[in-house]
Symmetry: C2
Subunit: 337 residues, 2 copies
DNA sequence: AAGCAATAGTTAAACGCTTAACTCTATACC
DNA sequence: GGTATAGAGTTAAGCGTTTAACTATTGCTT
């Protein structure tokens, strides 16, 4: 592989000149610039990123970190959407994307990950901050790397969905349709801040509608479709009079949909089911899911924009991405009784 | 950040010694090894990967490349599964995963990507080789990097699903159920070798069953759910007597399912619909899809295993991953007429 | 005509690691 | 007792960039 020196020799200048021309440092004649550029083309020079990284301390690599919890990592289509947003932005700026999936063991993060963070290989990191008890961002911040968190603590630079609003929207939707006997398919308590806010929103809307949130039947799932099926089964068995199931994510809603079908309950005529996230599959279920769209693409995009501002030495404001109620076919007024 | 030299000073040895101890080169006393390891712990030394890369030529980074074609990139859940398999294996071996999504413009690949390949940042690459007309692997191979292709040309080191078998299985399934009037929802001709084999398998099974493949009604989609809906609508309009729709992927099958529902056709009683891929959502549609499972996780795993063998200087055999017919609720014998 | 600033380019050190080549024991062998 | 030999460790030369510090030239003021 040709090196800077080869280019320099060919162009009849010093390596410093070549380096500076390539990095657009001012103070060069057009003639020199052209000579250099020509030489680069002729011998097909491509800079060695490792050398550049060592010398400049900048690697042009940013990491997207999503810790391994539950099955919520690779099974979650939302991650792909967020990733797409991030990727698009990075591609534009010539940055490379490294993905890291640290294993969380006993509230701590695995050794590989720690090494990576400290290895000097990263210019910055974007974390999908699922778990409050072991922030994957702590080592990043300690190392002094620019970091932005998606759905993370507002303490850090972060972009999050407005989950409180999401909770309000979905509950209001159910109340407006006339539902009062609503089952909640939820997840373990405060698995992350986003969920807390979402539940709070649901609660606030319930209260406002004169419904006691605490007395609503609940079942605890783990985000997976299978758990949605189980929770729906359990709720409908114990409370056959429920007219709606509010699920904390789409995959559990899809599971609930399946269970409803198995029980011979027609959705939405006999049972309303709502989701949350608006994953691609939510639009294609039968009936398609009423849900909350989180604008995952925008989220990813904003996160990388924020990271790049940090890399430029700016101090961006944390962002809250608005959510949107998407009414599809899985919700309707409760049946007369 | 502490460097090798700091460790060496602290341990009272030379940097070479430290380096060798850390890389497990033989010929050291336990005492020395312990001294070094202790010093490493004490000052919290972590090797600088950029320096290591520059010096050794090994970066511990492998790239997963999936070109941007159609919407089939980030929208495709299969990619996540494959990625998960690759990630698991890389994590085990202490390698880092970089993802690259080259843009294909006029049969060529974008400049960023080319630079990355030649930058010396990569130890190897795994490509999801969707497009035959612009192999993203060409520049990789030219650069001399170990490369393995998933679903790529058998000319390269590759791991592919046995799509021919998949085609046979799904068509045989339909024939065994008694279907003869089968509509095919396909994609543009030979978009990739996998699809060619799949179609060939379908054709062979049809022939074996005494059915003329060429005379079967076909509609051309683009892998997306929406196109599945359109194709189904078109086929059912032009050929109301169809008893089954064979779709070349699950997402189009899900679209078809929606259209069937819209038309008031009950699946599978009045219309059988089959998919291909067995994406997670396929198990949760109503009714769940009969489809072909490609073992994406295994595919990813085998691809990285193969890459690591290449990195070790071995010459692995290309692998064909067997597929599996998954019979769910969307297929049944055709209705009497 | 001297002084100065801006422009154009060079030299060489530094980044932090690996590794070939070397030195210096201590032991083994005949 | 002399010579291999294997073990333990060191020295120093890279790897391919960037960049601070420097030199040289030109043009502009006064």
């Amino acid at each position: 592989m040709p090196t800077l020196e080869d280019v320099a020799r060919r162009a009849g200048v010093s390596t410093a000149t070549v380096s500076k021309v390539l990095s657009n440092t001012p103070y060069f004649t057009e003639a020199t610039r052209n000579k250099v550029l020509l030489a680069v083309k002729e011998i097909g020079y491509v800079p060695n990123l490792a050398a550049r990284a060592l010398s400049s301390g900048k690697t042009q690599i940013i990491a997207v970190v999503f810790p391994y919890v539950y099955d919520a990592i690779f099974a979650d289509p939302r991650i792909l959407c967020v990733l797409e947003g991030i990727d698009a932005e990075c591609n534009l700026r010539g940055y490379n994307l490294l993905i890291s999936t640290p294993r969380l063991i006993e509230g701590s993060v695995d050794e590989n990950y720690l090494q990576l963070i400290q290895s000097g290989y990263l210019d910055g990191v974007i974390a999908l901050n699922h778990v409050p008890f072991a922030s994957v961002l702590d080592p990043v911040i300690k190392k002094g790397l620019p970091a932005v968190s998606i759905g993370g603590p507002p303490s850090a630079y972060s972009v999050s969905s407005d989950h409180h609003a999401g909770g309000v929207l979905i509950m209001e939707h159910l109340l407006e349709l006339g539902h009062r006997r609503i089952g909640i398919i939820t997840v373990p308590d405060s698995i992350n801040t986003g969920t807390e806010q979402l539940l709070q929103g649901i609660q606030d809307a319930a209260q406002a509608g004169g419904l006691d949130f605490n007395s609503l039947p609940k079942a605890v799932g783990d985000y997976s479709t299978a758990s949605g099926t189980d929770c729906a089964a359990q709720l409908l068995r114990q409370h056959p009079d429920l007219t709606a199931l509010l699920c904390l994510n789409d995959r559990m809603a899809m599971g609930a949909l399946q269970e409803a079908h198995r029980l011979g309950l027609r959705v939405p005529e006999q049972l309303t089911i709502t989701g949350y996230d608006d994953i691609p599959a939510a639009a294609t279920t039968v009936p398609p899911l009423t849900t909350i769209n989180q604008r995952s693409l925008t989220t990813g995009y904003e996160a990388s924009r924020m990271l790049f501002e940090l890399l430029n030495g700016q101090k961006p404001e944390s962002k809250i991405i608005p959510v949107e109620l998407v009414v599809r076919g899985s919700s309707a007024p409760p049946a007369r009784r």
